[in-house]
Amino acid sequence: MIKTFLFLIGGKSLAFLQELGGILVMLVQSLVWTFTPPFRFRNLIKQMEFIGVKSIFIVVLTGVFSGMVLALQSFHGLRKFGGESLMGGIVALSLAREMGPVMTSLVVNARAGSAIAAEIGTMRITEQIDALKMMAINPIQYLVVPRIWAGILVVPLLTAINILVGIVGGYLVGVELLNINSGVFIDKMIKMVEISDLVQGMVKSIVFGLILTLIGSYKGYNTQGGAEGVGRATTEAVVITSVATLIGTYVITSLFFK
């Protein structure tokens, strides 16, 4: 019984380390191929459009409602000790440091991370990746590098949009619905939010952009077993990225508060 349990734990740990190793190898290969010509700007632009432009609507939608619910929650919490005036600062601070990067990463992961895994996975099982190799084209350079750089470049921009519309949503609820003074709302926001808070949010979004495209690409690239395999790769990519995002936000926050 204990032996079986230990074997199970050992097997899972080995599989985890193997997976982690594979992801790191892909990251290193991507870095090497980034600086090897030919540079595939057209692919980069295409991926920036897919991951970035096509995610704007859903990022705006989640941003507005995040800001609105933050305003509502903080109003009812702060009212207990007469601190409603701090609402603007709390909403902006939460969005800039945490909610903005995390929410943006999760929705972009659900939309684009899953699509990356599915697309590359389908290319793997239909031998399109082998076809690239046969045409003397490195698939990491052609498929993975543009996606990773697109993620690193556009997720921070999407996060900035998310934070901005979140603040607007918080302002609308706070000022228009809950009658907080507009000047107070903006004043507290300016006083409480510092440049380092914005930097923290941007650092997180860059890391999350890398994680979601790297894991999506890795899972797709290593797909095995037909349509079922593509489904499995897609699910695993979304789940692992979501968990990595939440762990990552804790690690980065703790590093900033050191």
Partner: protein
């Protein structure tokens, strides 16, 4: 000439190729036959350098390709064209873009020259005018022909076919066979075909090699091959179960 010398490959301790030796002459069509799951595609992927052997040598002319690094392999692969089992056309591109893709990557040609070359290659496979269509809009046979047009776009010396007629009706099978024969003749290519469609094999082959138990058990021109006294070869050619042939003897 392609030479495979004492090739061994196992997957998870399951041997697929065992001390395999095979010589593929230049300027001819060699067909490798064998049962499904017998390692034919694995053998083809070794020739392309997509799979590395556990031991043994793979020679393409004077170069031992299994010792080459991935980047050096790209130089060799430009000499190869490959028709994959399902075509492996890029489904995010039109047929025209698919055929143009290797030219854009490896040739310094203007857009007009590429357009002309694409039309030429598509005409060769009898698919003029489908440049704007997506792969999903074509039938299985048309997709394979389009994939052949892409495979010959860079005018390779060596053309590999992985079960080119699987899943096609007899008429389309004959059409693809004729294309293989015409393409080989026209460009004097070295062709390697993986197949288990016996009619098709005898139509296109200059040489036939049979893979069984991880080894080449018989090799020769079609006439000699047909007369083989090897029981496994005869069972395969006649579509006979091994126990049936045991009863007959």
């Amino acid at each position: 000439m392609i030479r495979l010398v004492n090739l061994n490959k196992s997957f998870r301790s399951q041997p697929v190729l065992q001390n395999l030796n095979l010589t593929i002459p230049s300027g001819q069509t060699t067909v490798i036959i064998g049962r499904s799951g017998g390692g034919k595609s694995v053998l083809l992927k070794h020739i392309m350098g997509l799979i590395r052997p556990d031991s043994g040598e793979i020679w393409v002319d004077e170069e031992e390709i299994n010792r080459l690094r991935e980047k050096e392999l790209y130089r060799i692969r430009k000499r190869f064209g490959m028709l994959f089992q399902e075509g492996a056309l890029f489904d995010s591109m039109t047929i025209g873009e698919n055929v143009a893709f290797p030219l854009r990557e490896h040739r310094k040609m203007t857009a007009k020259e590429i357009e002309k070359a694409v039309a030429e290659k598509l005409a060769l496979v009898g698919l003029s005018g489908v440049e704007g269509k997506m792969p999903s809009e074509l039938s299985g046979g048309m997709r394979k022909r389009a994939a052949l047009a892409r495979a010959i776009a860079l005018e390779p010396d060596i053309l590999l076919f992985d079960e080119p007629t699987t899943g096609l009706d007899p008429i389309m099978t004959a059409t693809i066979d004729n294309l293989v024969i015409d393409t080989q003749k026209r460009f004097q290519l070295t062709c390697v075909v993986i197949s288990h469609d016996i009619q098709s094999v005898f139509r296109v082959a200059h040489n036939i090699a049979m893979l069984s138990g991880g080894k080449i058990i018989e090799q020769g021109p079609p006439e000699t091959f047909r007369q083989s006294t090897n029981k496994i070869v005869q069972d395969f050619l006649l579509g006979r179960l091994p126990e049936q042939s045991a009863q007959n003897t």
